[in-house]
Structures are given as C-alpha cells and as structure tokens.
Symmetry: C2
Subunit: 126 residues, 2 copies
C-alpha cells in the first residue's frame, strides 16, 4: 500500500532499489526450505538438530545453507555456546518475524483463492 501524498517527485530510484532488493530477498527466501524453516522457528528458539527434526525431510546441507542465508540477511540469529559438545541455537529476529507475517498474508491469499485456482487448473489441464 503506497500511501503517497500529492507531492512533487517520488523517489523512483529508491523504489527501484527496494524493488531490486525485494526480488533478491525473494529469490533467497522463496524456496520451500527457507519458508519451512521460518515457519518451524516461529517464536521459538531451536538448536540445529531440533530444527532438522522439525523440518521434515531437509538435508543437513540445505539446513546449513538456508540458515546461513537467513543469518546473512538478518532474519535469524545464531547463538553459539562454546561448550563440548557445541550447542548452537537459532531464532527469528524481529525482521524475520515480520517477514513471516507477510508470508502468512500470501497464505491467506492462497486460502481465499484456493477454489479459483483449482478450478482454473482443472479447466486448463483439460
């Protein structure tokens, strides 16, 4: 929702920059593993192994990779306890939780247009 007053010139460069970043973030985040991790974390704090159990079917590699990506973008916090054996805990940052909200928005959209989509698919595939 762009609540833009009738001002002179909108900052198009900023908009394009944000859009470009949005796409970048999107391509980072919009894969099923990242989404499942974000959903699994929710408001909780989980260890690597717990997360692995929680996100059904994810490989060790994908979990690591996606956690690094989330950490890099400031969506998840990584806390290392210097113990033996090591204990590493992950949780969503405020930005991460806010993103989770927008994902929910899209889920709401899906819910609303579920019938429409399935009907359209049926028609198309016929």
């Amino acid at each position: 929702m762009v609540t833009k007053q009738f001002t002179g010139s909108p900052d198009e460069a900023d908009i394009r920059r944000a859009d470009s970043l949005a796409r970048e973030i999107f391509s980072d985040v919009a894969n099923k593993w990242a989404l499942l991790i974000i959903e699994a974390l929710g408001e909780r704090t989980l260890r690597f192994g717990e997360l692995r159990k929680e996100v059904d079917g994810i490989s060790h590699k994908m979990l690591t990779q996606n956690l690094r990506m989330l950490e890099r973008n400031g969506l998840a916090d990584r806390r290392v306890h210097p113990t033996v054996p090591p204990r590493v805990e992950y949780r969503l940052t405020e930005a991460g939780r806010a993103l989770r909200e927008t994902v929910h928005t899209m889920c709401d959209w899906t819910h609303r247009y579920l019938g429409h989509i399935e009907a359209s698919r049926g028609r198309f595939d016929a």
Copy 2:
C-alpha cells in the same frame, strides 16, 4: 473457511491441503520472472511482444513458460485475436491483482527493513 464439525480436531487435513497448495503456488509464483510479469502487467493489458520489452532481460522461453503458468493458475487471462499476424493479449485476473497486492506487502516489508538487511549483510560478509 470450511465448516467441518468433527470431534475436537478442526479440519487439519484441509489446513495441510491449503498449506501444501500454498507452497506449490509459492514455488510457481515466487520466481523473479513471474513477479516481474505480474508487476509489468499491473492494471494494463499487454501483448506478448510488449510484455517482452517491458520485462527487461526475459527470454522468449521464460516469458512463454511463466505466462502459461499464470494462466493455468487463473492469475492471468490470455485473449487470442484470430488475425494475421496473430495478436495475443494478457491481463491479470482478479486473483492475479489480489496476489499483486500481497507482493506489494512484501515490498513494503523490504522497504521497512532495507537498512537492517544491508547492515546485516555488510556485517556478515566482513
């Protein structure tokens, strides 16, 4: 919302089905080309060639593929004029425009956390 009156458990199957579909739609829609096409279409009606010029850098193949996908999911309309040479016009459906709104939601999120994300990336990459 399906009104299913079972014992204590609500319609978990339905929820899982919607979630599963949500992920499917997401993996369809959440790629940069689909998003750029949706943005390019906006409220307008565009021909294939116009769309190709509008979406910077997209290949013929990707445009076709994504338009088919959007059509299949009932997000875009495809109108063929049986002329020579052929004229094919695309526009968003109501569902497509609604999805566009949710994409804007994510853009808003990006805009809000732009600084946070860039700072986090800078920190991480160092």
